[in-house]
């Protein structure tokens, strides 16, 4: 049974280290943002493929289908909305039809309004407000599988050139990705649902893994300050890997539960 190394009154047990780590990440991120030099960020194939996918749709005269998940306002939905903004601007600039199926969850009523506003803003900024059609952002259903059926219906009827499925999708992601593949669309997916990732990797042309989706907004912006924060993600991941390795060595070789106690603090 792990024994926390430290107890502070007023802070629930097991959350002290979490609070410290969040503060460290925030400080590191702000320090990185202040640096002048552009950090090196590895290429993310799935995000780079967005431009190619939209371009292909434009050349083929087919629509682009983008969805931002069925979840509530969590970070993956927010990241997906950033991607939606980027793609809608590209579609507006290139006169490509954009379809955004919305719904799928009981909180989708709320996220939908924000998505409509984001797409409308991008069309207005591109100087083509008349091209924005709310009918192309249908609310399909608040039920997961009714939404899926509607989504698949659109895929089969419209034959999109690209399907960009981001945000938090659950088991319906497989139905959508496979049908998208079937209709010959470039399929770019992202997921935060761990059990989904292997299935999505099989069904998609490109898949954003793990922290690539939350980083997509920053990656696409090409903004130095935003890119700098991605660097912190890597530093933090390296720290987590080191701690895990040290913990395994200490526990298995020396029998010490120090890291278990530390992580329970």
């Amino acid at each position: 049974m792990p024994k926390p190394l430290l107890q502070i009154p007023g802070i629930p047990s097991g959350r002290i280290l979490g609070l410290v780590l969040v503060i460290i990440i925030a400080v590191l991120a702000i320090r990185q943002m202040r640096k002048k030099a552009l950090p090196f960020i590895r290429r993310v194939a799935a995000i780079d493929a967005i431009d190619e996918a939209v371009g292909r749709s434009t050349e083929m005269g087919r629509p682009v289908l983008v969805s931002y998940g069925i979840g509530s306002f969590d970070y993956s939905t927010i990241a997906a909305l950033s991607i939606l903004g980027y793609v809608s601007r590209m579609c507006a600039d290139t006169d490509t039809k954009l379809i955004v199926p919305t719904g799928g969850g009981h909180t989708s009523y709320l996220t939908r309004e924000l998505a409509v506003d984001i797409v409308r803003t991008q069309y207005t900024l591109a100087g083509k407000p008349e091209m924005f059609r709310e009918e192309d952002m249908p609310f399909l259903s608040g039920e997961q599988y009714s939404y899926t059926a509607g989504y698949i219906g659109i895929l089969v009827r419209e034959h999109p050139g690209a399907v960009i499925m981001t945000g938090s999708h659950a088991s319906e992601a497989m139905n959508i990705a496979e049908t998208s593949n079937l209709v010959g669309a470039i399929t770019i997916t992202a997921g935060t649902y761990v059990s989904n990732m292997a299935a999505l990797a099989c069904a998609s042309d490109y898949v954003m893994l793990m922290d690539e989706q939350p980083a997509a907004g920053a990656y696409l912006s090409k903004d130095r300050e935003q890119l700098a924060t991605i660097r912190v993600q890597d530093i933090y991941k390296a720290l987590a890997m080191t701690l895990t390795a040290l913990g395994l060595i200490l526990l298995n070789i020396l029998g010490s539960e120090f890291f278990l106690d530390l992580l329970s603090t």
């Binding site: 007023g10 802070i11 629930p12 959350r15 990440i25 925030a26 991120a29 943002m33 970070y75 993956s76 939905t77 927010i78 990241a79 909305l81 950033s82 903004g85 601007r89 719904g103 009523y109 709320l110 939908r112 924000l114 506003d117 984001i118 803003t121 991008q122 709310e134 009918e135 609310f139 599988y145 009714s146 899926t148 219906g153 009827r157 088991s171 319906e172 497989m174 139905n175 990705a177 496979e178 299935a199 990797a201 099989c202 069904a203 793990m210 922290d211 989706q213 939350p214 980083a215 907004g217 920053a218 912006s221 935003q226 924060t229 991605i230 912190v232 993600q233 933090y236 991941k237 987590a240």
Partner: protein, 213 residues
């Protein structure tokens, strides 16, 4: 007044306030803040419910356009509107516990959803058929590990009982460690995204475009 709602600073201030309302009670025990946060969540949920009306309006508008322009599949939209209106009417007038509403859910909504869910198995199969082609060493490992875990999980377990220790080893070691790695990376990405939002670097989700930042 609209300038207030369109102001980036005001939006950011609201965002920071709501962030602190969620962040502080998680890490620091302050009962008064807990009460305030609960009330805040209740207000947010109530406001959220009003958006259902907007969603119904959106669906009506889209379906009517389909029917008016006789687009492909327009007849299904008549069915959709009739069912949607029926459920809304019965739900509002008789309540969701009434037999009529329960019948609609049990006889139409649940079977249709179950069928759509059941189809998932076929999609999985077709995706696996493409993925399980051992064209490289990595793909070969995937095929072998996949087959072991699949045979263990599937009802064929009884016939392949000797596979169990290998499947459990793969699931408990490789599967578990990969799952933890995914979780750590996803959470890290989430925290960094939040920092970008709170410092006003990434506000696309609030409807602000790059030009406006």
């Amino acid at each position: 007044m609209s300038w207030l709602f369109k102001s980036k600073q005001v939006n950011l201030a609201v965002l920071v306030f709501f962030f602190l309302a969620g962040f502080v009670p998680y890490f620091i025990l302050v009962p008064q803040v807990d009460d305030a946060v609960n009330k805040l969540n209740l207000i947010a949920a109530t406001v959220g419910q009003f958006t259902v009306a907007i969603a119904i309006y959106s669906q009506w508008r889209r379906s009517l356009r389909f029917i008016k322009e006789r687009r492909k599949g327009w007849a299904y939209h008549i069915y959709l509107l009739a069912l949607m209106s029926g459920m809304t009417f019965i739900g509002f007038t008789l309540g969701e516990k009434h037999d009529a509403y329960t019948w609609l859910v049990r006889a139409i909504v649940t079977p249709l959803s179950s069928v759509a869910y059941g189809i998932l198995a076929f999609y999985m199969f077709s995706a696996l058929a493409r993925a399980f082609r051992a064209r490289s060493l990595k793909a070969a490992f995937l095929v072998i590990a996949g087959c072991i875990v699949l045979l263990y999980q599937a009802p064929l377990t009884g016939a392949f009982i000797q596979i169990e220790p290998y499947a459990v080893f793969l699931t408990d070691n490789f599967g578990m460690s990969l799952s933890r790695m995914f979780s750590i990376a996803i959470i890290t990405g989430g925290i960094i995204l939040n920092i970008r939002m709170l410092t006003g670097r990434e506000l696309a989700f609030l409807g602000f475009a790059k030009e406006e930042s």
